[in-house]
């Protein structure tokens, strides 16, 4: 069993805006291309050109259809990766200490050299956010691009996770959720950011901003009172036209 730190200095994480996510998968692929060439083993793909292609992805977008009691059905795109939980069950379940939560920033990582590929952590994670790499036999997960966010070889503005940097709709935000002055903290406050499955008691650091209400037409009636239907009377459209033109 592995212990979690009593507290972390920062709580780095993602804030994902479900109101804005168009489900384009940009974050999914950007994550894959960065992480297959950086921290730890590459993210392998099995049968990549065959019948059942399946590879390791640290971030996936799921699409759900929601049918509200009234109004048309809605479609919600739901990107999901490790939520870097404060009470991360994937860490405490790890028999070798390979899974750990960093004291300085709260990122949950796997030390691959200690990982025996037993899969207990994936079983313990209620979010299904960990993926066993089939080629390497080690557990892979979102690192919050730990090799980008402090990387002095990268311009400061790009020291953010690859998924955040690439998101075309600006639906992904990164920062310290322990800092009330941070942009992400304020965004969560303003938009009512939510925990995913809070009943699991994992205290996820990542937050989701809920979709704003859709298909709620405003009360508006600037067209009225409607003009008379006739086009040739003084009260009709051309009467209006003449009066309006006089003012121009």
């Amino acid at each position: 069993m592995t212990t979690l730190p009593a507290s972390t200095d920062k709580k780095l994480g993602l804030v994902i805006d479900l109101d804005t996510c168009v489900g384009c998968h940009a974050c999914v692929i950007s994550c894959k291309e960065w992480n297959t060439g950086s921290y730890g083993a590459p993210l392998s793909d099995q049968d990549p050109y065959g019948a059942e292609p399946s590879g390791t992805f640290l971030n996936r977008v799921h699409t759900y259809e929601v049918s509200p009691p009234s109004g048309p059905a809605q479609v919600v795109h739901f990107p999901k990766s490790c939520l870097h939980c404060e009470d991360a069950p994937c860490v405490t379940v790890c028999p070798t200490g390979a899974s750990y939560k960093r004291v300085e920033d709260g990122i949950v990582l796997v030390n691959e050299s200690d990982c025996i590929g037993c899969g207990l952590c994936a079983w313990a994670c209620p979010y299904g956010a960990r993926e066993m790499d089939q080629a390497e036999g080690v557990m892979k997960k979102c690192t919050l691009c730990v090799d980008r966010i402090y990387n002095e070889n990268i311009p400061e503005e790009d020291q953010i996770p690859s998924c955040v940097r690439t998101c075309p709709a600006g639906a992904r935000h990164f920062g310290d959720l322990a800092d009330p002055e941070s942009g992400v903290f304020k965004l969560v406050e303003m938009r009512g950011g939510m925990d995913l499955m809070p009943e699991q008691g994992t205290k996820p650091v990542n937050k989701y901003l809920p979709p704003r209400p859709r298909d709620n037409p405003p009360e508006i009636d600037v067209l009225g009172p409607l003009l008379a239907q006739s086009t040739d009377e003084a009260t009709g459209f051309f009467g209006w036209l003449d009066r309006t033109l006089e003012k121009l």
């Binding site: 592995t2 804005t20 384009c24």
Partner: protein
């Protein structure tokens, strides 16, 4: 416990090279990270005007495209029967010599026997020039089966189209309404813009039968019935007019609302403008103050918008009166169209009210002095914060041109084009019809064509017809069947060439167009046409040359393959002569350059085409002694001049200071590379809005070489060019349509937008085919390219047919079921899935996921080939016969745009299956199959 020590600052790359993406048509700037000579990581270029740092899934998956196992490796000569995919690798010398031999005799005797058509070509200003120098009239790119309705309606109405040629004013708009927009032009800018609108709290309304992507995040979804958008838009116009919610000041100043129209039905010029000389805007208006006719551009006139006047004994009425009468008619009322559109009358009225409220109650005033083309100076600019975007969903119908026109007329009535908060153009647009060429088609053996192939006809005199009224182009573009086919009609080329109608051809030469598969209607029969032989055993289309970078389905049908490079291995120019990357406040262009060198015997197609041009001694490509003028495409990009001082690239011309104009600069490409692969020049502030009428913009555009003299114009509510075709149909003028087309021309080519039912549903019994069937492009795939991409195909590896909950229940479908889908033309067997966020009369699927076995280096049991499918098998390039012996194209009657989305079908439950039908036999792969496992990045 102790944490492992991490290196959080590992070296990322040896070098970052900045070039332009080509994973779709968006043309984002990318930073390609190279490590040990390999591509390690691709990210968006933050400085780039298109994507400002972001990048979509396709762009990030560029690594897998660049290293795709489907890449062709060397020129190929066909050794088996056509369609089999049996090839032998040959040298470039042999390939180009063979091509030159085939083409030289064609050029000397009958240049029109070469049909040269390009697909997702981003070098159309070059390929069209090559075709022009060759002398064939048969050139176009793929616009005819893409979105020419959108393009042509935009040009004829506004002087520019949606696509990527303009943009909503993302920073100011308060209401953004999209029609028929899925992933399309413009890809990342729309996602970025939507994100920005959400951040600002602006409202987004999505009008689309299918609620995916952008429509999923829209604040309000209008699940319209396909093909009825025009009706819906005209109802919005009706309601706005009835309530007096139109911008009269804007209409008078910036549109042809006050133009006087001949109102005598017996006059040869009935429906045409009362003119004051030859200039495009040399027209008379009626002055309300003096009660007399006055020139449009006379300062101080107060044009009338209504009233019939007699001038020299003839009656005239202003455009606006005709427009108001037409759309105030109760046939356009919300109640009259609601059922057909699948939108309630109350909702149509409420949407009209919201549009009006935003446009007029949230008016914007910007303090910016500017001078109009009449010389009048204005202290401010008024903005209307309502903007629109539309693409394929409304344009890929046989009523698409007029539907797109209707939307542009709605924009104009609201006064929301080229103003703050509205829709704004990107240079070189806006540009009026008269600033575009007319179509050219005069062939002289051994000589270049008489001018550019494609253009915008002004009237029947510009049609590409011979003295007997026969089509001069193989695709029959610019004929009475589709007079304004400004992008050509690539989807008709194979069918017409096979039929020898209007004449047989000798060589079909195509580039980057998967015409034997997802880019053709009627895919199964197209494959038959490509392999069909005459009585002597010769192929009916005798020779086929094809260039592609990958082992696509079309490769199997070519006799000679010229293998292209990947986009990271090539030079390209994203030129202002073509489809540039400009912004609303700046002109911009960009390049591609070989950020990695090819490791195969391949060549950038454009360089290969230049070499072929040299072998054929084409004018402009060789000098007097026959030596090559350009060593390759990069040399052409630098040194070619289309007009003196105007070349493919606008930046750093002359001594390096030249912007738009200047002599060729040998350092030009290096300067682009130093600047991140692009060049940008900002529009002066006083020139930023109302560009067609803005003197400062017109002067700046001339200075920058966008045009050579100012081209001011007003927006065209009423398109007089259309009326000229109708006058011909009524028997006036020298150029007369065939009798069987007179009625259709009169009905469809109305100078004011009209709606008519999509053709297919008027030719089939809709009770037999009660459903509409359409496709959408997924955001993570681009046409056929994506399936060879190991990462992207894990997102979209197969495509079910999505059907609504009502239909699901009605047919008793269950998860895992398959269905037969039948049209008047064919029948396919496919997997189905339920989706409730869908118009109940519509079924749909993702576009171009289905693949032929053996293509794209996929294994033969790949889900793209077993469960994937194309709707194309159900769509004929011709309409159902009506017994008149004529071939009626399944296209828009005005532009020839392929009417993909007119398709009507019925569905029946089928048992479970493992193979979609038709199951086309496999093609051999000239490149083998992709590997069984990947660990990309293990070297890093």
């Amino acid at each position: 416990m102790t944490q492992p020590k991490l290196d959080t600052s590992p070296a990322v790359a040896d070098e970052i090279r900045k070039t332009t993406c080509y994973m779709c048509a968006c043309r984002c700037g990318i930073n390609v990270h190279l490590k040990d000579g390999k591509v390690k990581y691709i990210e968006g270029n933050r400085d780039h005007p298109i994507n400002k740092g972001v990048l979509c899934a396709k762009g990030s998956a560029g690594i897998m495209q660049h290293y795709s196992p489907a890449r062709l490796r060397a020129p190929l000569k066909r050794v088996g029967p056509r369609g089999s995919g049996e090839f032998e690798e040959i040298s470039w010398e042999e390939a180009l010599t063979t091509a030159a031999e085939w083409l030289a005799s064609v050029r000397e005797t009958a240049p029109e026997k070469l049909a040269f058509f390009t697909g997702r070509d981003q070098s159309q200003s070059f390929t069209s020039w090559w075709a022009q120098q060759f002398g064939t009239p048969n050139y176009a790119a793929h616009g005819g089966f893409c979105s020419v309705n959108m393009a042509a309606a935009g040009i004829y109405t506004l002087g520019g189209a949606f696509w990527e040629f303009g943009s909503p004013d993302w920073e100011r708009t308060e209401l953004f309404m999209i029609f028929g927009v899925a992933e399309d032009h413009d890809s990342n800018p729309i996602k970025m813009g939507l994100g920005r609108l959400k951040e600002r709290g602006a409202k987004v309304i999505g009008v689309n039968p299918v609620r995916t992507g952008y429509n999923a995040i829209a604040d309000e979804w209008v699940g319209i019935t396909p093909g009825t958008d025009g009706l819906f838009i005209l109802a919005l116009i009706h309601e706005l007019l009835k309530a007096g919610k139109v911008d009269l000041d804007y209409l008078i100043r910036y549109t042809n609302a006050p133009f006087l129209v001949d109102d005598d039905p017996d006059s040869p010029t009935y429906g045409l403008f009362l003119r004051d000389g030859e200039g495009p805007d040399k027209v008379w208006i009626w002055d309300r103050v003096t009660n007399s006719k006055q020139p449009l551009d006379k300062p101080g006139v107060k044009p009338a918008l209504r009233g019939r006047v007699e001038i020299d004994g003839k009656p005239y009425r202003p455009v606006f009166e005709l427009l108001a009468e037409k759309y105030l008619d109760e046939a356009n009322a919300a109640e009259a169209v609601a059922e057909r559109c699948g939108i309630s009358a109350d909702r149509i009225k409420r949407l009209a009210a919201e549009i009006a409220h935003t446009a007029f109650e949230k008016e914007i005033t910007i303090e910016q002095e500017w001078t109009d083309f009449k010389g009048e100076t204005h202290k401010t600019i008024t903005g209307r914060p309502v903007s629109f975007h539309a693409m394929r969903g409304i344009s890929a119908h046989s009523n698409g041109f007029q539907t797109c026109r209707a939307l542009h007329v709605l924009q104009l009535l609201l006064g929301s084009v080229e103003v703050p908060g509205g829709f704004r153009f990107k240079p070189p647009y806006p540009k009026p019809v008269y600033g575009h060429p007319r179509p050219h088609h005069t062939v002289t053996p051994g000589k270049p064509l008489d001018g550019p192939h494609l253009g915008y006809p002004r009237g029947p005199e510009d049609l590409a017809l011979d003295a007997n009224g026969n089509a001069k182009r193989i695709d029959k573009a610019f004929t009475w069947e589709n007079p304004l086919s400004a992008h050509g009609m690539m989807h008709m080329v194979i069918s017409n060439a096979h039929a020898g109608d209007p004449y047989p051809i000798d060589v079909l030469f195509m580039y980057m167009a998967n015409m034997s598969w997802n880019s053709s209607m009627n895919t199964s029969q197209v494959m038959d046409m490509l392999t069909d032989t005459d009585e002597t055993g010769e192929y009916k289309i005798p020779k086929i040359i094809y260039s592609d970078a990958y082992s696509s389905e079309m490769v199997a049908f070519a006799d000679l393959i010229l293998p292209d490079t990947t986009y990271l291995e090539r030079h390209d120019c994203i030129s202002l002569l073509d489809r540039p990357i400009s912004e609303v406040d700046a002109m911009a262009d960009s390049i591609r350059w070989p950020v990695v060198e090819p490791d195969r015997d391949v060549k950038g197609f454009q360089s290969a085409l230049l070499e072929l041009g040299v072998k054929l001694a084409l004018p402009g490509m060789v000098d007097k002694d026959g030596t090559a003028i350009y060593s390759d495409y990069a040399d052409y990009m630098i040194n070619h001049e289309r007009r003196p001082g105007i070349g493919p690239l606008a930046g750093w011309r002359g001594n390096g200071e030249g912007r738009g104009r200047g002599a060729p600069n040998p350092e030009q490409i290096n300067r682009y590379i130093e600047n991140g692969g692009f060049w940008m020049d900002h529009i002066p502030q006083e020139a930023a809005f109302l560009k067609p009428m803005n003197k400062a913009y017109q002067d700046w555009a001339v200075e920058r070489g966008i045009f050579d003299a100012p081209q001011p114009y007003v927006f065209q509510l009423y398109v007089e060019h259309l009326q000229k075709f109708r006058r011909a149909a009524a028997g006036h003028g020298e150029n007369q349509p065939p009798d069987h087309l007179r009625e259709r021309i009169t009905e469809t080519m109305d100078p004011l937008p009209v709606w008519y039912p999509p053709f297919e549903e008027t030719r089939v019994d809709v009770a037999d085919y009660p459903l509409h069937a359409i496709t959408q492009r997924p955001a993570a795939m681009y046409h056929s390219w994506g399936s060879q991409n190991a990462w992207l195909r894990q997102i979209h590896g197969h495509n079910p047919l999505y059907i609504s909950g009502d239909l699901w229940e009605e047919h008793g479908f269950a998860d895992g079921d398959w269905a037969w889908l039948t049209s008047h033309h064919g029948k396919i067997k496919i997997p189905v899935a339920r989706m409730d966020a869908l118009n109940p009369k519509t079924v749909w699927t993702w576009n171009a996921i289905g693949k032929r076995k053996g293509a794209w280096a996929l294994h033969e049991n790949a889900p793209e080939t077993t469960k994937g499918f194309l709707l194309n098998h159900l769509i004929h390039e011709l309409l159902p016969e009506k017994g008149d012996g004529l071939r009626w194209s399944n296209s828009d009657p005005i532009t020839g745009q392929a009417a993909w989305y007119d398709l009507r079908v019925r569905i029946e439950k089928a048992g479970a299956d493992k193979q979609s039908r038709p199951d086309i036999p496999a093609q051999n792969s000239p490149v083998g199959k992709g590997p069984d496992a990947l660990r990309y990045g293990e070297d890093f």
